[in-house]
């Protein structure tokens, strides 16, 4: 039993310094799709995407909805002069609109809902997080669990996992919201005390991903409840989810940790 102690110390520190220091994704990591050339596109480009994340607007202007993108790379294979994978962890945004890239791509996560920004500061270093699965593929759960492993250890920033929604400040929702999970989701959100924030984790939660709105799923969390932060990705990496949590609680301003 006691032998676990030296074993635990043997490895030294493995924990990331993020967000104090940037965590750089390894080359080749498929974090999100970058739009290399957004003009002069033919209408056939929209056909490339299995989830309809690519649209061609007037005068051949491309729009790439990262909230719909499942990072399959079909567009990168077919039109490498226009699309490329970007090895980037920080993909979260505060509005659905900020997830849509056009020819000019500034990576701005958009403004926080004003009320939330004011309230969230009150939470500071004691944020209780609750998760609810509304039909994910199961990989998002692994990446959320990873936040509490020694590599990410989000507890050092004051985020705690709580069992009771009544104690929770932030709700992480995964999945496109299946019919059977709609009521449990509404009920979980309702009993959470104000101020509270809702983070949609994964492309399925952001837009439904492969599952469009219909009888079986709502096609994304924001069809059911207001979402404060969207973390697209299929699934998003732990750092991406951490970035989303920091945005949701107002602890990140222009990429810098505040408070």
């Amino acid at each position: 039993m006691l032998e676990w102690i030296p074993r635990g110390l043997s490895q030294g520190r493995v924990t990331t310094r993020y967000p104090r220091r940037e965590e750089v994704a390894p080359r080749g990591y498929r974090g999100r799709i970058e739009l290399l050339a957004g003009t002069g596109a033919g209408p056939e480009l929209a056909e490339l995407c299995p989830t309809g994340a690519i649209t061609v607007e007037g005068e051949g202007r491309l729009a790439l909805d990262r909230g719909r993108c499942i990072l399959c790379g079909a567009c990168v294979d077919a039109a490498p002069e226009r699309f490329a994978f970007e090895s980037r962890y920080q993909t979260a945004a505060r509005s659905r609109r900020a997830l849509v890239a056009r020819d000019h791509d500034d990576g701005d996560p958009g403004p926080t809902r004003r009320a939330l920004g004011e309230q969230a500061r009150a939470l500071r270093r004691s944020v209780h997080v609750r998760h609810i699965d509304c039909g994910s593929d199961g990989s998002e759960e692994w990446e959320i669990q990873a936040l509490w492993n020694p590599y990410y250890d989000i507890q050092r920033l004051g985020y705690f996992l709580t069992a009771a929604p009544r104690h929770a400040d932030v709700l992480l929702v995964t999945g496109p919201v299946t019919a059977a999970m709609r009521t449990p989701l509404l009920r979980t959100w309702e009993v959470m005390p104000e101020p509270k924030a809702l983070v949609a984790v994964g492309t399925d939660a952001c837009s439904g991903g492969l599952c469009s709105a219909g009888e079986l799923t709502a096609g994304g969390v924001d069809a059911v409840l207001d979402v404060d932060v969207y973390v697209p990705g299929s699934p998003p990496a732990p750092i991406a989810i951490m970035h989303g949590l920091l945005l949701a609680t107002g602890l990140l301003r222009a990429g810098e940790l505040v408070a």
Partner: protein, 499 residues
Amino acid sequence: MTGLTREPIEHPGHLAERVGAVSEDAPPGELRLRVTPLAFEPAARMLEHAGARFVSMFLADTPERALVAAFALRGELLVLRAPAQAPDPIVYGSLGVWLPAARWSEQELVEREDVRPLGARYTRRLTAPDADLLDRRVEGLDVFALPFGPVRSGVFEAIQFQIETGGEDVARIQTRPFFKHRGMERRFAGLASDLAVHVAERVAGIASAAYAIAFCEGVERALAVTPPPRAQRWRAVYAELERIACHLDVIAKQAEATALYVGQARFQILKERVMRLRMRLTGSRFGRGMIVPGGVRAEGAVGLEELRRELDGLERDLRRDRQLFLATASMTDRLIGSGRLQRKLVEDYCAVGPLARGSGSSTDARHERPYGDYRRLGLNVVTRREGDAMARVGVRFGEISESLRLLRQSLDHLRRRDGELSVSLPDGRSGAAFGWAEAPQGELAIWVEIREGVLHRVHIASPSLRNWALFDHAFPKDVLTDFAFIEHSFGLTPAGADR
């Protein structure tokens, strides 16, 4: 057909004659038997008596609308087909009334399609669960029914267990899946196979490689293409890394359930190392985007030497952590004797994967019906006989070592010989076939129908759904506080079960 050498009585063809079935052409490793709907149930019973293990039942649409039950018998997958004209309902004798393994599968079929199994009575709805609806009232002093889930403490996938308990003893448990049903099987329809593989990867995300392999095998077998050897080797590499990650996840969760926090952290570190290795190798922490119909997209992005060094380092650290884990009495005491499943029960429910192998059954798709590189890699199937949670953890530890051994073998092969990474699929062709793979959760079989190059119908026989039926029986002498240990020892994923 495929060079079968068997005793006459064991030849499925003879079984076919006995029940008046017609043997049809099929890809190698698959035997198709055609019967009338009324001869369906007697034929299924005959196959079961001959030792066939039920896999799944569903409605197929190629070459025609037909009720299908799939069984595994030795090195063959038996596909029992009962064609029936649309739009009439398919009337047949129920399999679920005598075959526990077929119950959920048949009930799902009844609720989704126009089939009428004679003799079956399915009362509560399986596929549209209501979190608030208790299935029955419980009587007796101090006994109560506890709906556990679909929202539970911790970060877990949605599933519900209705637990009837006196507070300590567990009188009865009922597992209620399908909270996560997203209609993934339907999502394939109309897609070209190279796009559809992305859907397959997202059915059960923690087993992306296994789903991609089973799906691609199905496509390739339906169109009679064989991916090049080098592609099959890379597929095995991704599949075994995935198995290691899933098994380490289960072991870390067992440590968490005992509050053995250093142990938990150690196994989480090992798992994260595998995730990061996959991220560098494939660009995705779940190894997505590499396996495509016809082969693999590219070589792994990490050099073979470096990959080997990483695996050596992983194994070295794992060996010490495993030793400590197995020597920690507070850990093993919770696992030994917990959730004991008798072999008979496991076989009645046709369970698969580490769960079945922990109860002495040696079923493993890589061994029974070797596919891809497993035809060349010699696999040692790891089994334990005790049938308890400890045995299931033991099987997983053994399988991690075995996976590391297979990985080294694959890397050696990859280093020695170069070769093509994929073959192109013929354009506009049609066909239907099963593809299979041994996912970390157990045997996965995917039925794939292609019409003129486009996916028509897909059925997924997930190991998680089949194994979860056993959870109701996993508390013979156990108390409520054993719940976490027993659940984690099953190591299943609701996403795969609910689809």
